[in-house]
Symmetry: C2
């Protein structure tokens, strides 16, 4: 077989605000690969099937010298992120042709590696698609489940406020909070998203673009648990209308990813209300909760007892647009790019 | 016996910035009391011996409608705060003449009450003065000990940064951190205070008025535990130079008590570094830790194994000046006002 296209999505320039498809990231088709003969040097050749596009990726589109919790993407090189791929060839002990791997992989159609540090074998429940394994059954689902278990100290009858409640993290948080017997207030940015949040059990939903968060919390609070994916005004309002001993789960701050980071207006409320603010990265919680997640959450996603939505795009060339959509919140459901479809996948 | 003076310190006007002695609080000698004959109506008559002046009291000098974690002082009425008094007469079951009581009491020489909700009996170790029972052996000492036990998760070899390290809370925190085997960085605002922090074991001390906190933390950090009594620049710097999984104990925010509250500049570091920020009020920790505090801390204060300093003023008329000194940090050691001395007190 002759060499075939090996398209990639390259980090091309640091965005000043929102990422610009074709400018800050570019879809590149100049490379080819001979999948049958390319030397592996003891490694594996993987065909990428799906790639996840997540809010945190914006933070990696930065200058290399700027410190943060994840390394910057390398200018001129492919982006990397969560994905699922199938092994086409292997010289690596313990990995065989036909195995599926999930983990951090480059945004390109095929790649060769001998470093499996951030990848592991994965099996698909036939009722779920691979896309879900980078969504509700993957990192975002783990994020919601593990941090809720670790930090919420939820008690029946309490009130939770969940931001980005229609997203892959927030929507699972809503359902976990309802399972625990809480009243749930949830925010999102479109009618379609509000509808979905209602369907999965949220008691009070509102559109943060058209409704003042402070008015909602004043009426429906005080809140005992705040799930923060946004920061800024929502965080300030949540502190203002928090109950004493409120638990804040600090998961993200999308309002600050594409410009300056909004400050927290009144940190004195932290001791004034005996709040606890808990920041986390999901990788630190996995050792403690992975087994429980696989046993409790994934089967319920497959059976439909836990709901989720996906916003699937087809083709690696869509990554730039999807990244922008995720930053602006114009996607509905977990944003995933299908790079290659498998025969027989439901 | 004829009526005698019953001086009081009244809340007279809401300060716009720092409290102004004689204006925002006034010393008033217009009232008298006949201690032998005044009717008790089932209550007790207490002679106030010592009163504590604490940083948090500034927050109570506000308009009544402004919500906060402690009620506003009542305009025209005496201030209230921690104190120790002796019972001169009692019609209250379980309280006898000669008993000593500690708790929240009005800033006046004598008072009558039948509400013992916020007062309890107290016995003095003969090696300690009553002043210490509103300082190192009282609320500030409890604050340091109980929150350190509850939130620090201190491990040998870690680095702690303690603000207001020469004060009654900070100085005990320094000593607890050293007992736990930590490296301690401590800040204060005068040479005398730096010297004291050195004496009690701080490894690195600096004057926040003349030294850039960021330079110190960059050189001596990263920090695992931050004890925050100040907020503002120190809090921002502590977040910038925190280690992953850093624990922040949010005890106070003196930089914001006399003007606008400084915002937290970069709340994204909370999840970026997996920080936990724990706010608390000491009253919530007492049920869990009071017995341990009495058994572990008070005897060591009496024996000298734990060090403390006090800045004692004599006479109720000094309260206004002492309040201002505490807000400006010009006192050295725990600020206490002796209202009346007892014969035989060491």
């Amino acid at each position: 077989m002759s060499p075939i296209r090996n398209a990639r999505v390259l980090f091309n320039a640091v965005p000043s605000e929102y990422p610009i498809p074709g400018e800050t990231t570019v879809y590149d088709t100049t490379e080819t690969i001979d999948v049958e003969n390319v030397p592996l040097n003891g490694g594996i050749l993987v065909k990428v099937l799906v790639l996840s596009v997540d809010p945190y990726m914006r933070g990696r589109l930065r200058e290399a010298h700027v410190k943060s919790y994840m390394p910057a993407f390398q200018l001129g090189a492919p982006l990397t992120g969560y994905g699922v791929g199938i092994v086409l060839r292997s010289e690596h002990p313990g990995v065989s042709e036909g195995n599926y791997l999930r983990g951090i992989m480059p945004h390109q159609e095929y790649f060769i590696t001998s470093d499996l540090t951030y990848m592991g074998p994965i099996q698909r429940d036939p009722r779920l698609k691979w896309t879900t394994y980078v969504g509700a059954a993957g990192m975002p689902g783990e994020t919601a489940y593990m941090a809720w278990k670790e930090y919420s100290r939820a008690k029946e009858g309490e009130v939770a406020f969940v931001t980005t409640g229609a997203g892959p993290v927030g929507s699972l948080v809503i359902q976990l909070a309802k399972q625990d017997g809480l009243k749930v207030i949830a925010s999102a940015g479109s009618e379609e998203k509000l509808q979905f949040m209602k369907e999965i059990g949220a008691d009070v939903v509102f559109n943060y673009k058209t409704t003042d968060v402070r008015e909602v919390l004043e009426k429906e609070g005080p809140i005992d648990i705040y799930w923060d994916n946004v920061g800024g005004e929502s965080l300030d309002a949540a502190m203002e209308f928090a109950a004493n001993h409120g638990r804040f789960i600090e998961c993200g701050l999308i309002t600050g990813y594409n410009g300056s980071i909004p400050p927290m207006k009144n940190p004195a409320l932290i001791f004034g209300k005996s709040l606890s603010l808990n920041g986390f990265l999901v990788q630190y919680l996995r050792p403690k909760y992975t087994a429980a997640f696989e046993a409790e959450v994934v089967p319920k996603l497959a059976s439909g007892d836990l709901k989720f939505t996906e916003d699937v795009s087809y083709g690696l060339d869509k990554v730039g647009d999807v990244m922008l959509a995720v930053q602006k919140g114009t996607n509905t459901g977990k944003a995933v790019v299908v790079v290659a479809e498998e025969e027989g996948e439901k």
